[in-house]
Amino acid sequence: MKYESQAVAKPYFIAAIGLFLGQILFGLIMGLQYVVGDFLFPAIPFNVARMVHTNLLIVWLLFGFMGAAYYLIPEESERDLFSPKLALAMFWIFLVAGAATILGYLFVPYATLAEMTGNDLLATMGREFLEQPLPTKVGIVIVALAMLFNLSMTVLKGRKTAINLVMLVGLWGLAIFFLFSFYNPGNLVKDKFYWWWVVHLWVEGVWELIMGAMLAFVLIKVTGVDREVIEKWLYVIIAMALITGLIGTGHHYYWIGTPEYWQWWGSVFSALEPIPFFMMTVFAFNMVNRRKREHPNKAAVLWALGTGVMAFLGAGVWGFLHTLAPVNYYTHGTQITAAHGHMAFYGAYVMVVITMISYTMPLMRGREANSPVAQVVEMWSFWLMTIAMVFITLFLTAAGILQVWLQRVSTEPMPFMAAQDQVALFYWMREVAGLIFLVGLLLYIVSFFIKGKAATAT
């Protein structure tokens, strides 16, 4: 760590990991509810658990991005953060708001929560991923703006590199597209249309910039490859991501009442979306193969490579699988979508945040890398979580194919719930894989507490 102020990233990362654990626990609860319908009923109904699961995911990833930004931007700008105090204040505001929101979901009926928090004034709630009450949404905007101010000032006064510019543009985009969550037209078609401007343009647009910048940052550090080479890659990757991702939004406009031409535009552009993800994989491996040093933090290198591969599989391959309109006609909103959503989120954003944590945490704790024992445990957690996620994806895909077949292709289509009964076996297997994922996550947390002689550069 070069600058004192980079240490504000630490509470962000710790909170991120804590919330990650919460997310997985609720995932497991839901996974069980899929097969044991009345599990925990009426204490935690499925819809509440689902909301908690997905919102925790988004919130902890945001914590991760923010922490990463507070670490990366000062280092790239070669100066201290503009205001570490502001960054720390924002951390607490975000954490308290996030916790209050989750507790609200769990202990207050959603309709009451909506009433209590002024949803009558400006109705924004009740839409997947954007369920947060109005005050929370406003809080997110304030926290984001304060962060952007803080980071922009740092960059303005310091060195400007491709990495910190891309990171900053990505974060600005994140904040700007979030504003569409305040727009909730009564017309359901329009509502959905703009809803995707948050959801899709986040994960297949501006978040890719954030991811690219984080990956490039860690790769420079652990491989020692020349900055020029890495920056060139970064530019090409983000250009491709934006060309394909922006109009690629059309792959959500096939059947929601939007004009038919979206079937063409969405199919063609989104079919090319795997390219930037593929390039990211090639990028990571290429840089590691050309490395000029052996960084003692082997675990971080492993996470970086894993990000490349898993993001390509989850977003690129599983995304392509159902992105062409004629295919999506059958798979829309089935377990295939869920399979893709899980692997893409894990492979791209979970893993890139962990890559960053894995690289920076030892530095913030005063060593270049963790002890070999701790790293071995961390690598075990890598393999357990990653393999478990591959299996979750495969089981959900199998369930999805069967579901499509029974419910949509067959000449005598089954009703939804009857088809669900037929695929219960896969849901059981998903739950088992989920438990293994939990074990991996716990090991990951344990790895932070393992002492031992620090590894040194070789």
Binding site: A239, I243, W264
Partner: protein, 175 residues
């Protein structure tokens, strides 16, 4: 830059083929709708883009001989071609909208307007790139030993031209 150009060619290529295969399933509609296009405007636009490309070639030639100002002049001439192209295209599209035709009219017009608009945006981007190169050339930013930037900008512009060279016969002529 070459990577970028290839990516663009890929996008256009996929769209051209989408057009061709969509047409296979609906030949009458495509042929009938095509008759409503303004072929003359399309042909003039082709000449404009070809000439723009030619001017860009001349610009690169000038900078090889270390003539910065002349290079900038040729680039500006190319941009003028691009600008005229844009105006003609707007007139053409305007006439179609006037006639009540839009992207939802039928598949043929979806492609005609959609591809045309997408290419239109590329002409604008190409002009912006040429403009930046011209400005730098004017200020003496390039020389006979250092003109990579001019060549790169030129390559992008030729790509925009190349795409139109395929687009014009495909959408305006062949039936």
């Amino acid at each position: 830059m070459w990577f970028f150009i290839l990516a663009e060619l890929l996008v256009f290529g996929v769209f051209f083929l989408a057009y061709a295969f969509a047409r296979m399933r609906n030949v009458e509609l495509f042929n009938a709708s095509q008759l409503e296009l303004d072929r003359i405007s399309g042909a003039i636009n082709t000449i404009l883009l070809i000439s723009g490309s030619y001017f860009v070639v001349r610009a690169v030639d000038q900078i090889r001989h270390d003539r910065s100002r002349a290079c900038a002049h040729w680039l500006i001439a190319a941009m003028a071609c691009g600008g005229t192209f844009l105006i003609l295209k707007l007139v053409e599209f305007g006439a179609k909208f006037e006639a009540g035709i839009n992207m939802s009219t039928n598949t043929f017009f979806m492609f005609y307007l959609g591809l045309g608009f997408f290419h239109f945006m590329h002409v604008i981007l190409g002009m912006v790139i040429l403009g930046a190169v011209a400005l730098k050339a004017w200020k003496g930013g390039y020389s006979a030993s250092n003109y990579g930037g001019v060549e790169t900008g030129a390559a992008y512009w030729h790509m925009v031209d190349l795409v139109w060279i395929v687009l014009f016969p495909l959408i305006y002529i062949l039936n």
